[in-house]
């Protein structure tokens, strides 16, 4: 059984959209619209970037490690970035509280779609792919916006021609 990069990416994005954060629960995750890179967009829209995330493939796809001409296994990395305004709204300890919120969100996202959670992805993705976590964070704190990042490694079976 094969899958596609789009199916895997969409499934991961859907799982994140369905998450309820553990802190500031009234501010859900929202997917970026990808008109430009999320960091670039967030720098221009700090007031509206809270928990806007992007899920994008990064790097090149490996040459097939196994193939039978109808299915082949390939590997590629995938990066999840979540944006936050650098403000006091997360607590009195300002940057410390911001870092804690980012850490908690990133941990939760990783648990849901990374090594622990990939089995719960949509059927077409999880039966044909293995997702492992490469890294979580650390929070990148900027003067205007900050970011949390999860990097994943995906091994999946695809059609050689589709």
């Amino acid at each position: 059984m094969t899958t596609t990069p789009a199916t895997i990416r969409d499934s991961i994005a859907s799982r994140i959209l369905a998450l309820t954060p553990s802190a500031h629960t009234g501010d859900p995750f929202r997917e970026h619209r990808y008109a430009e890179d999320l960091p670039l967009w967030a720098e221009s829209n700090p007031a509206g970037c809270l928990r806007v995330f992007s899920v994008r493939w990064s790097g090149s796809t490996s040459a097939p490690s196994v193939t039978n001409t109808t299915e082949e296994y390939v590997e590629r990395d995938l990066e999840i970035v979540v944006a936050y305004p650098t403000t006091w709204r997360f607590g009195e300890m300002q940057l410390v509280d911001l870092e804690e919120v980012i850490d908690a969100d990133i941990r939760r996202i990783n648990h849901e779609v990374g090594t622990n959670g990939f089995a719960a992805l949509a059927t077409a993705a999880n039966t044909s792919a293995t997702v492992t976590t490469l890294s979580e964070g650390p929070p990148e704190i900027g003067p205007v916006v900050s970011f949390g990042t999860v990097r994943l490694h995906v091994l999946y079976s695809r059609s050689p021609s589709a």
Binding site: H24, T25, G26, N45, P46, G48, P85, R89, E92
Partner: protein, 320 residues
């Protein structure tokens, strides 16, 4: 009343059962008096018979049933046993143990909680008092509101009436005096601009530009604020906003001002919005110059509701 605490309230001519509203940032225990004068009259002059009956303070009050605010999983949430009397869009007041703040009610949830538009600034113990006693109303006299002679001067941007509220604050029993302004008008000045209108003129405004705390309301409060800014720009040119009789042109100004204000807010937060801000400001300035500074719009010069379309008369008013 929507928007800022201090704004000129428009009383609609010939419409029954209206109220004057006072909103302040401290709880009120009683209203001593409410007086209405023409703006140009002293407090010693005979007051207008513009109100009827006694002023009433909003009575909604409730204790929170859980800790609230800073440090909670949702710092906008105020849990309570009943939400009766609380109204979304109005401003409330929460206090306990000597700390307090005002907030705007964004939404009411299943008679169990209300949610503030913004995360609460302070941490509140369970049992904090949430109340709406920062708001008072008094009925407008239906008879007065139907008097043609009381209509606000159409072309004068200054408010026609001054409302003097004498109140007693609940927190320290002190007497306070507030003044607000009012106009009696045939048409409200606010144009019917919806978030969809702003987004149609500036694609992406709803999905990509709205600040987090204004997403749930689709940015409607930002449009209200932009309307106020346009009104001030018109006043600065000596034009009463209510005289504009082209709703479409007024709406276009509000739409452009809304986008400009949204981008500007990002810039004030430190965002690099230089080019976008310049484009938005230029677009609004050109619209204002084209429609208002160069007189083309039909305006109501008499307050009768009809519009004067000759440019010459328009120019007289615009350059007055």
């Amino acid at each position: 009343m929507a928007g800022a605490e201090v704004s000129t309230q428009e009383i609609l001519f010939g419409v029954a059962s209206q109220s004057l509203v006072l909103e302040v940032d401290r709880p009120l225990s009683s209203i001593t008096s409410v007086s209405v004068w023409p703006t140009g009259s002293d407090d010693t002059a005979t007051a207008e018979s513009a109100t009827t009956g006694s002023a009433a303070i909003d009575t909604a009050t409730e204790a929170t049933t859980a800790e609230a605010g800073l440090g909670q999983s949702d710092p906008r949430k105020l849990a309570m046993a009943s939400t009766a009397g609380f109204v979304a869009g109005r401003r409330g007041y929460v206090s306990v143990n000597g700390i307090s703040e005002t907030f705007e009610i964004a939404r009411i949830h299943a008679n169990t909680a209300i949610y503030a538009r913004h995360p609460l600034t302070n941490a509140y113990a369970s049992g904090a008092t949430v109340d709406m006693t920062t708001r008072a109303t008094i009925s407008v006299s239906d008879t007065w509101a139907a008097l043609v002679g009381k209509l606000s001067q159409a072309a004068d941007p200054n408010p026609s009436y001054r409302v003097r509220w004498v109140v007693v604050h609940a927190d320290d029993s002190s007497t306070g005096i507030y003044f607000r302004n009012a106009d009696l008008v045939r048409y409200p000045s606010a144009p019917p601009v919806s978030p969809l209108d702003v987004d149609a003129a500036h694609p992406g405004w709803i999905a990509e530009m709205l600040p987090t705390d204004y997403r749930a309301s689709q940015g409607r409060p930002l449009i209200v604020e932009a309307t106020r800014l346009v009104r001030l720009d018109l006043w600065g040119r000596g034009i009463a906003d209510r005289t504009l009789r082209s709703g479409e042109a007024y709406a276009a100004l509000v739409i452009d001002r809304t986008v400009w204000a949204t981008i500007e807010a990002g810039g004030l937060r430190g965002a690099d919005v230089g080019q976008a801000l310049a484009v938005a400001k230029d677009r609004y300035d050109r619209r204002l110059a084209g429609l208002v500074d160069s007189p083309r719009l039909a305006i109501d010069t008499t307050g009768g509701g009809g519009a004067t379309t000759t440019k010459g008369k328009g120019k007289e008013v615009f350059t007055r």
